[in-house]
């Protein structure tokens, strides 16, 4: 389905409500559509809001929208009595005319339950929530039980069967004995790649009967009352490469959530996998945790956003770019809607503390590092630190790359631009890059962090970060690149230059001040 807004059109918002055994069709106006259904024009809708939690928590907040169905004739209230509405799927489409091919799926969600429906004599309000809220699961999903393992060691009864991503070559993990008569142990609740070394009370021992599919092995002697068995191994390597990369983990977690493949944007995620293919992830999950939390941790550490668009999970790198999805200017920006705030979320930091290589055994991080922006600390006269706990990334090189990136991002106040736009802007979504030409901005790229769509007037209010001034410190610059004086404004924005001590690329010109790093 394709929706192409024009300056003027007969726009409609239509809904399909999938009750068990009955599908209801409603719209903001009475419509007999091309699909052969009559869409009863009793519906109106609140604005649709989508947002990321914050830049440091780059996962999507629950999108919300409330549809209101006029009900003076009691039609809806009778249906409320007859059918189950809670947790039933609702699809909202936006488009124009009568042809469904001119419509776009805008929201694919569920009716909130409980407390999702209220009504009075004239109308019924139905709150919708996005599918994401129902997709999450608790991991690990399975536990050790004696009904499954009759000779399970007593201490393991009721404990989660771990999930282990990545390589635990130098960090042996404890394992549970599932058969004390055979001294058989189980490492994880899934197939693993290799068992490297088994340790009994810290000493290497030989193992037999390796079954990598079941992640089990045996040793010759074991006393559950006094012995501790640990093992170094290569876990669930689902990777795009020879090790576990973040997007492969994301795919696997979505699989645990039973997200249908049709609801995953493979094309975008596969592209992102290439960008993140060198990051190595590891996590030993032996305590119950929400899959949403696991995904959120992964996104924060690796620097991408996970969200749902058109009912499909997708992700986008937070790496600043000049490429824009849509350029907008005064021809579509609503009067008095332009506003810029300086670091409203107080994200500024000139020092990044990193804790990484988490050990489930000691429940703490084994390693710590830090990155400082000395210039910024001196300029400001204050050290403002931010601490990042890495639960997925474990290699020093990966952690420091991320820390340096974060330091560059946070070492200047982030400008947040807010505008309300008309026309094509209604198609914008989270993480899109918009080029703003307005006021003193010329094609200024901003990354959308929050979007609110008002279908009554087909306007879209976006809230995003200025990607040039505050997030783009400069790429590597070729030898033959133009000097600062010869460069275009765009080149000046994206390229790095040698500067004097106060950051001036053109000494004496305060407008040429760049971030001064080394």
């Amino acid at each position: 389905m394709t929706f192409i807004p024009t300056n003027s059109g007969e726009y409609h918002l239509i809904a399909q409500i999938y009750l068990t055994g009955l599908t209801l069709y409603y719209a903001d106006s009475n419509l007999s559509m091309s699909d052969g259904h009559y869409y009863d024009g009793r519906m109106s809708a609140s604005a649709l809001s989508r947002a990321f939690s914050s830049f440091t928590e780059p996962t999507q907040r629950q999108s919300t929208i409330t549809i209101t169905l006029r009900d003076e004739d009691l039609t809806i209230r009778q249906l409320l009595d007859t059918y189950v509405w809670g947790n039933r799927r609702v699809k909202l489409y936006i488009g124009k005319g009568r042809n469904l091919s001119d419509y776009k799926l805008e929201f694919n969600g569920l009716i909130k339950y409980p407390d999702g429906i209220d009504f009075d004599l004239e109308k019924v309000n139905i709150q919708l929530r996005d599918s994401r809220n129902s997709d999450w699961v608790i991991l690990p999903a399975n536990k050790f039980w004696k009904t499954d393992y009759p000779h399970l060691e007593d201490a393991a009864e009721g404990q989660p069967i771990p999930i282990a991503y990545g390589a635990f070559s130098y960090l042996p993990m404890p394992v549970r004995c599932i058969d004390t008569t055979l001294n058989e142990f189980k490492i994880a609740d899934h197939a693993i790649v290799d068992i490297l070394q088994v340790y009994l009370n810290g000493d290497p021992v030989n193992n037999t009967n390796e079954n990598l599919t079941l992640a089990t092995f045996r040793i010759s002697a074991y006393d559950p009352a006094s012995d501790v068995v640990t093992v170094s191994f290569l876990g669930k390597l689902t990777g795009y490469t020879s090790f576990t990369d973040p997007i492969s983990v994301l795919y696997d977690l979505l699989d645990y959530e039973n997200v249908l493949s049709e609801n995953i944007d493979f094309e975008t995620l596969d592209e992102l996998a290439i960008e993140f293919k060198d990051l190595r992830c590891r996590r030993y999950i032996n305590e119950e945790i929400s899959s949403n939390t696991l995904i959120e941790d992964l996104a924060i550490e690796c620097g991408f956003d996970v969200f749902i668009i058109d009912g499909r999970y997708t992700a986008r790198s937070r790496c600043p770019q000049l490429i824009t999805d849509l350029d907008i200017d005064e021809m579509s920006i609503l009067t008095d809607s332009f506003k810029v705030e300086t670091d409203p979320e107080s994200l500024y930091a000139n020092k990044i503390n990193c804790y990484y290589s988490y050990s489930p055994q000691i429940r703490d991080y084994l390693l710590m590092g830090q990155e400082n922006n000395i210039y910024e600390q001196g300029r400001l006269g204050q050290i403002i630190p931010r601490t990042i706990n890495f639960k997925w990334l474990y290699q020093k090189s990966d952690v420091y790359i991320v820390a340096q990136r974060l330091l560059m991002l946070y070492s200047r106040e982030i400008n947040v631009i807010q505008i309300t736009a008309l026309g094509d802007a209604i198609l914008l979504d989270l993480a899109d890059h918009v080029g703003i030409t307005f006021g003193h901005y010329f094609r200024r790229p901003m990354m959308i962090r929050e979007v609110t769509k008002n279908f009554d007037v087909m306007s879209c209010t976006i809230y995003g970060y200025d990607m040039i001034k505050h997030m783009l410190p400069g790429y590597w610059t070729d030898d033959d690149a133009p000097s600062y004086e010869d460069a275009t404004p765009e080149q000046r924005a994206i390229m790095g230059y040698w500067t004097n001590d106060i950051g001036e690329a053109k000494p004496g010109d305060p407008d040429s001040v760049k971030s001064c790093w080394w």
């Binding site: 300056n7 003027s8 059109g9 007969e10 726009y11 069709y25 106006s29 009475n30 419509l31 007999s32 699909d35 052969g36 259904h37 009559y38 009863d40 024009g41 200017d329 005064e330 021809m331 579509s332 920006i333 609503l334 009067t335 008095d336 809607s337 332009f338 736009a421 008309l422 026309g423 307005f438 009554d456 007037v457 087909m458 306007s459």
Partner: protein, 257 residues
């Protein structure tokens, strides 16, 4: 100029309905449903030899029909639409009554007649319809009411565009187009008590909630100036004068969706 006419007794609305074809989600019952946008959609477009049709059995007692009006259609100007009537469900023989082809108009097809039957059928042939099907939003039939004293000449017809227009900072207009509709403001001047009561009877029957058809000039412009709508405003106001004569104003707002 004929007097204005009102049709508010919709005798097809309670009839048993049959049709040559229908799309599952847009059945023939929609033809008598209040909303014009709720269509009856056929699977074909009909030919002169084998037209699409919709028929109404109004019950064992024959009913008099003096006005037929069709709204919300997708018919082309070449469409041939006829009304037939018979005392039984026998359409293979020439019907007892068959109208001439109704005059096409984009907003409405209107026929005035004076026939009394139990079975009524509308045949439609529109072979050049590019939609590939026939769609009708509302069929109304019944006995119209024509006041003895016509409205005074100061009639206001407003064509209303409820579209929403928002302008950008640069002055560019963005619009959500809505369907345009008409509104007639008419005034009966110095009408007697009997006619006032007739109008009150009509208003009590439909109020501001039920649809009616208003034909401003059924003689000269039966299609162009006939609308399907509702009385607008919450009251029927009469300015009473001496000898029980009075003035009475009505506002009828066209319902197009």
């Amino acid at each position: 100029m004929s007097n204005v006419r009102f049709l508010y007794t919709h005798k097809f609305d309670t009839a048993t309905i049959y049709s040559s074809s229908e799309v599952a989600g847009l059945p023939d019952d929609n033809a008598v449903q209040e909303f014009v946008a709720k269509k009856w959609r056929t699977t074909g477009k009909g030919t002169v030899e084998i037209p699409e049709w919709i028929k109404f059995y109004v019950g064992s007692t024959a009913k008099k029909i003096t006005m037929l009006a069709i709204f919300g259609h997708n018919l082309t100007s070449g469409a041939i639409v006829k009304l037939q009537a018979y005392s039984s469900d026998e359409w293979t023989v020439p019907p007892a009554y068959e109208s001439a082809a109704l005059t096409w108009n984009a907003q409405a097809l209107v026929l005035f007649l004076d026939q009394t039957y139990t079975w009524w059928r509308i045949t439609i042939a529109d072979p050049n319809n590019t939609d590939g099907y026939i769609e009708i939003g509302r069929i109304c039939a019944g006995e119209y009411y024509e006041p003895g004293m016509n409205i005074i000449e100061t009639v206001t017809m407003s064509l209303i565009d409820p579209s929403i227009v928002t302008e950008s900072d640069g002055g560019q207009g963005y619009s959500i187009e809505k369907t345009k509709y008409r509104m007639y403001s008419v005034q009966f001047g110095d009408i007697n008590t009997a006619q006032q009561e007739e109008i009150e009877t009509m208003f009590r029957a439909v109020g501001t909630t039920k649809p009616l058809i208003f034909a401003l000039d059924p003689g000269a412009y039966p299609e162009a100036q006939t609308i399907y709508g509702k009385f607008k405003g919450g009251s029927l106001d009469r300015a009473l004068k001496t000898l029980a004569y009075g003035d009475c104003g009505l506002v009828i707002e066209e319902k197009v969706t």
